[in-house]
Symmetry: C2
Subunit: 218 residues, 2 copies
């Protein structure tokens, strides 16, 4: 950690613009941030490389943790499932069962071990596909669970929970988030596909914020 002062925190960093904004927000609030990046078998591996670039740009240490979901069950993990398909009755195809629960659990373990009191996550209430593990209710109970199930009880903080995409982009701009390094597209091509849910909401967010997405400049 380059900044020796400040409270220690773990920041879940996906490579997307929400978590990048949270990282810059945590830094602005005086936290020393250890970024936790997951290589979980996602087909859009590009987001991992982008997450590393974002951590470096922010001057923060990072750790890439490799985990697997051998049972797959998501379009993000299995080429046989189409991104637009519904695989469970109510779940979008891009839902990875219990993914955030697992990410936050590892982050809590990391935080407890290094003595960090806070874990930051970029979930927001309007998380486009309505994943249950992004909702306020879930995060509240997760927090209580960590208090009960660990000695140190690090706190899970989701400062974007009340924000929508355009508000996050406006906030990120003020904080100096390097949007050109962020990656949202579920298809990890050279350029964003501009078709998947994630691309759609990113484009909508930039438009509503009155800004140009540096990834879409020609």
């Amino acid at each position: 950690m380059k900044n020796k002062k400040g409270k220690l925190s773990v920041v879940l960093l996906s490579g997307g613009l929400d978590s990048a904004t949270v990282l810059y927000l945590a830094k602005a609030k005086g936290y020393r941030c250890c970024c936790l990046i997951f290589d979980y078998g996602q087909l859009h591996k590009k987001e991992i490389y982008q997450a590393v670039k974002i951590a470096k740009a922010a001057g923060c240490v990072y750790k890439i943790l490799k985990i697997t979901f051998p049972w797959k069950g998501s379009a993000l993990l299995d080429r046989k499932i189409k991104i637009s398909e519904k695989i469970m009755r109510r779940a979008p195809a891009t839902y990875v069962p219990a993914r955030n629960i697992i990410f936050l659990s590892f982050a809590a373990s990391f935080a407890e071990t290094i003595g960090a009191k806070a874990v930051f996550i970029g979930a927001h209430s309007q998380d486009y596909s309505g994943y249950p593990d992004c909702r306020r209710k879930f995060l509240n109970i997760f927090n209580k669970m960590v208090q009960a199930g660990t000695y140190a009880g690090p706190k899970i903080l989701a400062p974007l929970l009340r924000k929508n995409k355009s508000q996050i982009i406006s906030m990120g701009r003020k904080l100096g988030v390097p949007f050109a390094l962020t990656w949202s597209c579920y298809r990890g091509g050279k350029t964003p596909c501009a078709k998947c849910d994630s691309c759609y909401y990113r484009a909508k967010g930039f438009k509503e914020a009155g800004l140009v997405d540096p990834l879409m400049k020609r």
Copy 2:
């Protein structure tokens, strides 16, 4: 799964006698069991091989999931930490930060994906070292968290929660648990060390149950 009838479940199997008893109990209750075994960097790797033998003896399918705790922070993961040391203010050295939270999170993901309604864990209220992630309070909140954070909301069941070690051994004997295949020692030697906490409580349990531990026969 050899038994095609019965409700599907995921059973966390460690290789110890508690989880083996839970597996046999779940089977006796008519569940089809998919065992989930973790290779999490534990120094006593022997328990993994024993868990596989137990799953096979029970006629159940199993999956070994490799995960890592690169931040270590436990005597079970780091040879530099003595098993008897206290590393955090209140935590025993064998406590692995948030380990059960992570195990149960993966089990919930597995269960949701395969459509299993139940996840079994061998936690018991007297879990010798007082790990916070074995307590009733924690498991209750974890259950609520899974209901809030997944679509399918598999239920976490800990049928040994009110039992002590000798009661578990008595129960396991009636269920036909192959105790000779179970492994409890934190030191993964050829024979149990007979010195660590885990060996101590196993020996005490067998004695109180009026049974002979097949591992200790000479």
